[in-house]
């Protein structure tokens, strides 16, 4: 395992990047279908929920400061259920990343390059991600920090 260290700022910036793109491109449409003109209420209700999940993650980290989520779920739920939960989490990561990549491809094809095959665009993005992952956690952290000013300027 890579033993890179990142700062709190880097982690928060990385999370911001991960959430905001999906949040801006896809959530408004989905929520609008359900809520229509009352869409402005939804963030107010979503906010405490989000806060709660962050609080839970924080408390768990305080309880098991040196362990990963896989390790402490085995502590809490026992070996078998812990491993099952770990598997579910891995599958969740896998599916959510697939969804993100699909969203990205869909967005680019529909907005910029309508005649380019989607697998080329997605493939290029995945190659780029592989390049970043090859550098390790520290590199991704620094990359997020570097891009953040431009990113936040545009949104």
């Amino acid at each position: 395992m890579e033993k890179g260290k990142i700062s709190a700022l880097q982690m928060s910036v990385m999370m911001y990047h991960a959430i905001i793109a999906t949040g801006i491109l896809f959530i408004p449409k989905t929520v609008f279908d359900a809520a229509q003109q009352d869409i402005w209420i939804s963030p107010i209700w979503a906010f405490p929920l989000g806060l709660l999940s962050v609080y839970i993650a924080y408390k768990l980290h305080k309880l098991y400061p040196d362990d990963t989520i896989m390790q402490y779920s085995q502590h809490i739920l026992g070996a078998f259920f812990g491993k099952v939960l770990g598997l579910i989490l891995l599958l969740l990561l896998y599916t959510s990343i697939s969804v993100m990549v699909w969203q990205y491809g869909e967005f680019v094809v529909s907005e910029f390059l309508p005649h380019t095959p989607k697998y080329v665009i997605v493939g290029m993005m995945i190659l780029l991600c592989a390049f970043a992952v090859h550098g390790g956690l520290e590199v991704i952290g620094r990359l997020a920090e570097m891009v953040f000013p431009f990113f936040s300027y545009f949104f």
């Binding site: 990142i6 700062s7 700022l9 880097q10 680019v108 910029f112 390059l113 380019t116 665009i121 290029m124 993005m125 780029l128 390049f131 970043a132 550098g135 390790g136 520290e138 590199v139 952290g141 620094r142 990359l143 997020a144 920090e145 570097m146 891009v147």
Partner: protein, 518 residues
Amino acid sequence: MFNRKKFTFNKQNKGQQVDKEVLKPLYSNLEKNLEVLNFLYKDCSDVVFRSFVIAGHIKAQLIYIKGMSNIEEIDNNVLTPLMQQTDQNSINPISLIEHRLSVAEITKIESFDTCVEQLSVGNPILLLEDNRQGYALGLAKWEKRAIEEPSGELVVRGPREGFTESVEVNTSLLRRKIKSPQLKMKTLKVGSYTQTTIMITYIQDLSDETLIEEITQRIKRIDIDGILESGYIEELIQDNSYSPFPQVLVTERPDTAVSNLLEGRVVIVVDGTPFVLVAPTTFYSLFQSGEDYYHHFIISTATRWLRFLFLFISLLLPSLYVAVITYHQEMVPTTLLLTMVDSREAIPFPALVEALLMEITFEGLREAGLRLPKQVGAAVSIVGALVIGQAAVAAGLVSDPMVMVVALTGIASFTIPRYNIAIPFRLLRFPIMLLAGTFGLLGIMMGLLAIIIHLSTLRSFGVPYLSPMAPMKRRDLKDTLIRAPLWKLNTRPHLTGEYNKYRQSSNQKPFPNKNEEE
């Protein structure tokens, strides 16, 4: 393969005999010593052996290399006092040398290898009969270039002196600026044939001990036959040798070297070149010119922004043009688009081919301009102006906007104060152009991200290349994108100057004395 074997074969046979002789201590017999030295310097017609007699009975031998020693001083201060000694009885040759020779620097020699070392530096050697010691006289003097203004790093305001090829002159330039004895210089010899002097210079208590140790280790590990320029050292000690980005700062200016020393960095001076190395360095410091600190801070800040703007232009402008023309025509204002279409109508090539053609031509002209003999320079610049300019348009090969783009790009890459950081960007322009030609703006984004990812993986002697932006050190931002006023630059950079954090006392903002009027 064959060649390599032959080389080691040679080295093992003939080389070994020389090595054995060199490691021995001097004999007490003068004849025997001379025999060894004659063997070592066989067929070296530039080595002069001069035998003479002191006070009529002590045989002595003076050895020096032609053109590397001060012959006048040898005559006046060594040969004359020794040969004119007439008192025959109570003469002790050792006290004679210590008391009669008016030479400032006399080193005692006990073995043949120091003998060879001193000779090759230019110091004449004096050997005496029945004496196991020789004497190296510090009378080296050879032709060197005078101190001139560095042609690669010109400034409007700032010192006009630059480093020269001689390591002694270079270290003296540093010492003249830093008078404190805390300025330390460690000497290493690298290169099995050239024995090039390399000085590791740092300020004690400002530089990290482990950093100095690391640099020393990396240089000591080098086993090469010759060091001809500091570029050899740079390539052999940098962290990531496959990266096109320079991980060591190269400068010709003593003031830049000193300001880096004061920030806790280490300066490596190599004999035989005016370019000294500064390690570790960061991406942003490669965009700083020494002049930034001599002008008013608002002006320096604006200049830095201008440099970054033109960095992006030199990297991206042709690609942006290609992408917009090929894929995103809707981004251009309509009237401009009409003119562009009008000028592009007669052009047979796609924008990408047009851009590549012109950029490669420009790079070729630039390279030719560097290597040209001065006499033909004017001819090439006229032809170049025609090729890039009106003639290319008139011939229907390129469009008018493309000429402008190429010209702007060419100028932009020369606003970057350091040549070695401008080169990788000039090179990376081409892959990004290809990406822009195939994927439009998306391709440019991909290329930019790949460059930033690569930059974030780099480290220069343990210091992240993109610091202090990533990882973010807010304290150090005062001297990256902006140049804060000098009275605000209270702390040294985080990763190199942590050992002696404060460089000046705070609250030094000048203020007029308000009580003066009373």
